[in-house]
């Protein structure tokens, strides 16, 4: 099971992602430079956090035109699992693989904190083992993580079960106080209609070791592996 961790100039969580994935049983990760034009030999794609191309113009605006993104888009259309964390989420939105956009935090401040996230879907390719209502803890670190979508898009996201997680408090309530960045409806992570592309502002890559405060992020990568194995078993049957 091999994950491609895409490296853009300015990515800075590529090493976190690689280390997190390689630390999990049965999972391997390798870097893929943004100028590469092939994802051959890989099973899944991770777009890491950071500041691709210095976040010039808009976060993710230039990264989406990197050569490897043609392959990422193609893979996503073919049904590969694609995960974008933080800056990776911004790139996925800019690339049109996920609806909506991420704008400047409501409070204008860069927010670096541990947050709670409520799982909003009964099951997904990225959240096996985390039934609806499960509360996860993961760190966030971003200045432009305020999720925005127009009213129609928001309605569709909710109707199709594409809102995977929302910021919440210790009781699981999605209050204004538990919203770190002003995201519409406390949205922290969404998937595409098909459910194979997932983007979230929190960092599962920084939450894979309980000694660092939380190991809840490991479940995301393990769930991806489980989904891929289940898909293979189904194809073989």
């Amino acid at each position: 099971m091999k994950f491609a961790v895409i490296q853009f100039p300015g990515s800075n969580c590529d090493q976190d992602c690689l280390r997190a994935i390689n630390g999990l049983d049965g999972l391997r990760a390798e870097y893929v430079w943004h100028k590469a034009t092939s994802l051959a030999g890989f099973d899944a794609v991770v777009l890491p956090g950071g500041f691709a191309y210095g976040d010039y113009l808009r976060c993710g605006a230039i990264a989406r035109f990197s050569p490897i993104m043609n392959e990422v888009v193609r893979a996503a259309k073919e049904g590969w699992l694609v995960l974008g964390t933080c800056n990776g989420f911004q790139v996925l939105c800019e690339a049109g693989l996920l609806p909506g956009a991420l704008v400047r935090n409501r409070g204008l401040r860069f927010v670096c904190d541990m947050v709670r996230l409520r799982i909003e879907v009964p099951d997904s390719a990225f959240t096996h083992g985390c039934p609806q209502g499960t509360i996860l803890r993961m760190p966030i670190a971003h200045g432009e993580g305020c999720y925005f979508a127009d009213a129609n898009t928001l309605r569709e996201l909710n109707a199709n079960g594409q809102v995977v997680m929302r910021y919440c408090d210790a009781t699981g309530a999605t209050s204004a106080e538990s919203n770190p960045n002003g995201s519409i409806e406390n949205i922290a992570g969404i998937c595409n209609r098909e459910g194979n592309v997932f983007g979230l502002m929190p960092h599962p890559d920084r939450a894979c070791d309980s000694r660092l405060g939380s190991a809840d992020g490991a479940g995301i990568f393990l769930s991806m592996a489980e989904t891929i194995l289940a898909g293979r078993a189904k194809a073989a049957a």
Binding site: A61, C93, V103, N105, C146, F148, A149
Partner: protein
């Protein structure tokens, strides 16, 4: 020739920078200020004009220079 592009956040999109500047202006005695929106201004020098230059610029305004989900743009050619 030159192309000038102004990119502005859509009205429905939160513009906390604009709100902070509005408050500062009001604080500095400019009570008349109702609202401030902050966008981007790009000046683009082009080597030559051509029949399809404007259409290609518009295309890039939509694809790269602005994000139509959150922003509107205006393009002026000189």
């Amino acid at each position: 020739m030159k192309a000038k592009v102004v990119v502005m956040p859509k009205a429905a999109v939160l513009d906390p920078q604009g709100a902070a500047v509005r408050e500062a202006m009001q604080h500095l005695g400019m009570g008349e200020v109702k609202n401030v929106r902050i966008g981007k201004y790009l000046e683009i020098d082009l080597e030559r004009d051509g029949a399809d230059v404007e259409a290609r610029l518009h295309q890039l305004c939509r694809d790269l220079l602005s994000n139509p989900v959150i922003e509107d743009y205006q393009l002026v050619k000189e």
